[in-house]
Symmetry: C2
Subunit: 346 residues, 2 copies
Amino acid sequence: MFSKNCLEGVKMPTISDVARKAGLSVSTVSRVINKKPHVSQQKETLVKAAMKELGYKPMPAARQLRGTKAKNLAVTVPRITNPFFADLINVIERTLDSKGYTIILIQTFGRKDKELDALKLLTNQTIDGVILCSIENDAPVIQEYSKYGSIVLVNEYLGELDLPTIRANQYQGFKEATGFLIQRGYKNIAYATGHKNIIVTKKEGTNLNSNRFSGFQAALREAKMSFDPKMLFTHVQTRDAGLKLFNKLFKENKMPDAIISGSDEVAVGIMEGAKEVGVEVPKRLGVLGIDDQSLSRDLFIPLTTVRQPVEEMGAAAAKAMLQHLEDKDVVENKVFNLDLVVRESV
Amino acid sequence: MFSKNCLEGVKMPTISDVARKAGLSVSTVSRVINKKPHVSQQKETLVKAAMKELGYKPMPAARQLRGTKAKNLAVTVPRITNPFFADLINVIERTLDSKGYTIILIQTFGRKDKELDALKLLTNQTIDGVILCSIENDAPVIQEYSKYGSIVLVNEYLGELDLPTIRANQYQGFKEATGFLIQRGYKNIAYATGHKNIIVTKKEGTNLNSNRFSGFQAALREAKMSFDPKMLFTHVQTRDAGLKLFNKLFKENKMPDAIISGSDEVAVGIMEGAKEVGVEVPKRLGVLGIDDQSLSRDLFIPLTTVRQPVEEMGAAAAKAMLQHLEDKDVVENKVFNLDLVVRESV
DNA sequence: CTGAAAGCGCTTACAG
DNA sequence: CTGAAAGCGCTTACAG
């Protein structure tokens, strides 16, 4: 029937093979593949039998060429090794997979060009949409690509972007968490973030970065406390970076009495540094994590942290994508609340 | 030039658009796209200018239809939320991405059909190859699919499979680790595995599962100790499952004095259970993890564990895939040694 | 060195 | 209800 090719394996049956075997035209076969009307019960049975016998599967590339949706979706994350993002991807993939979508994973490592690569897959119809779990490029360039397919934002957000967005109320969360630190008596609170810089705007909904910091500052203001800009540290994103930050602070003798770290990972690094030199947590140094990843409760000092509702956000993002794929006019915007999980590091 | 379509975004320029703009034929444009010889410097410049001006990108689907490789690779893992697999994917993606491959992520959740889905992507040329980070199906069915593309195995392996395989010497690792437990005085050692069952063969290289268990038994034998089959627990794969296992053992009053858990995740669950009811680790219960994931040293009881060289294995797997993609005849087989990381849980 | 034409595997009007 | 034919965007012999 179809011949072997010694170099490249085996040639798969095509729609013509099926038609021939069924004694029908390719049009008819195509109709049953696509569940279109106007095909008699009898022929349908014939076609299905032929497909089964041949083990026929339509070739996605050929269908795409004719305009059929690829049923592929990309998901971008900074790093998959951060459990927060692994969890996010897990829910997203689970719910999207059940709808027949295949997930293309793209780690950006914080690079604009990697994110652009993902976005560009939209233009050549490789993917139908992309879920951005972090934002590297500026609003206008991202918005531009939404012409080519569905884009939904999870976790990070940008006020200027008119795109489905699933996020948490970072302002509220950080205000509460900072309030808690103050209430526990911490006076000199450092602030570390994974971002490269912070553009401060008071408006809620501007971006994660800015809203977190404003929440932090609002709590300070209410307590009539001021913030020393030297206690702001950017681009701290890993356990290692947390450790380095602690060591720097310790060496330069500028130790604050509490640190709000940008993630649980960073918090672990800080606590590790503290342990090494005998700085007691939470007594001499309060450490606040962000994320509440699953092992945070099992650390040598159980972490007090701001829980991000990762399951809920991931599921909502997947749903928002599905909806937007069906109807470009529905742009879902959902804001979750953040909870403080009190354990022992603060 | 090319008109907007209000429903579906924008129509991208095609190779014909480029040809028209450059005042040349599509053949010539195709030649420069594919860096084929026989095109004058002059025309090449013309074509490149036209491509740039139009923002032209060849459509992958159309190229695939003509037999060009998709440059897509799938990676299967049981669950991305297990840091061991997140780490594995991370290295794999990093090295493959740098060669221009796009990664399709597939979580199997231990299901055969999910793994088959991945394998089937080979048949319709959606992907050029798949890296299996665990094995769900039987050897013959997997081998069958190797006709359609490159398959490489990492971590798990099957002796019968004639495929590039990157793995660790589980026999040696488990023998050493068990020897260490014995030396520390543990006498009644339970054995938990994530797998559904264990087919025991003595031969090294049969499969991960079997080799781990034989290593364990070999150490027992050398110490003239015997193993109570009731102390074998299968299908224990998460932190939760570890916790449940502990509770069951505790309730039924069958507590061993040590447990070899199938992963660090499971070990954490066991230690959690022990903490809750006041069973001292490692004094009354030794807990051995497997993996050495990054937070294992930071747990409330730093975990003694068998380190799997995840970075090295991932990189080797990616390299093996690249090689096999280029030349089907080179089937790389690499075996890494396992190290015991001694901390405080044993 | 360059171009016209066939064809990859599909879907979709268009006839009948 | 069914089929012949055109065409999606490419690449690749085949001429010249």
